[in-house]
């Protein structure tokens, strides 16, 4: 299975600021995914981060608000820009398992964001 870490684990931010969340996978993966989990809700896909190409955003999410970087096959960042209280959520990254097993998604521990 893949081991995925995220930083920070949680943060409290002021309205109008930006936060960059880092996601590190312990093996090389072609795709990484960023999900948002609003309070009491399920997971919603924000975007797919592909190494060497632009991220693919889901309907309702735009690059200006959630810019994503994918500089190599083990790392990605998600920035939440110009934050508002509505952005308060848990942000999770995921990737297909490493070690030759790419048929399962593994998740990082999440970043709990509170916007005041």
């Amino acid at each position: 299975s893949a081991v995925i870490s995220q930083k920070p684990s949680r943060d409290i931010c002021q309205r109008g600021t930006s936060l960059t969340i880092q996601c590190q996978v312990d093996s090389q993966v072609t795709m990484m995914f960023w999900y948002r989990q609003q309070p009491g809700q399920s997971l919603t896909l924000i975007a797919t981060a592909n190494q060497g190409s632009e991220a693919t955003y889901e309907s309702g999410f735009v690059i200006d608000k959630f810019p994503i970087s994918r500089p190599n096959l083990t790392f990605s960042t998600l920035t939440v820009s110009n934050m508002s209280p509505e952005d308060s959520s848990i942000y999770l990254c995921s990737a297909p398992g490493g070690g030759g097993s790419t048929d399962t998604q593994y998740f990082g521990p999440g970043t709990r964001l509170t916007v005041l």
Binding site: Q41, L43, D103, T104, Q105, G110
Partner: protein, 117 residues
Amino acid sequence: AQSVTQPDIHITVSEGASLELRCNYSYGATPYLFWYVQSPGQGLQLLLKYFSGDTLVQGIKGFEAEFKRSQSSFNLRKPSVHWSDAAEYFCAVGAPDRGSTLGRLYFGRGTQLTVWP
């Protein structure tokens, strides 16, 4: 359109009782099916998965799930619940995106499990 339905938002069971969490899906291709568990303040942990073959799959922590194609269901079961099983359970569906690599997942809204001592 792809979708996952977990009809039960909240289930309460007594410790030692049996458990069944329901999941129905709508998916155009042959689905890959998953159950994840999320404890408070934690990320998602994979309980079990189904791709093909035996429709009854065993997972970690004594959980099992049965795939029923005719009913588009993938219900999670456990014969005897422990207090530590209290958590949120998510059913998810996906499919390979590039070759055999799994693409994005579609999640149900989750079922919150409370266990009475």
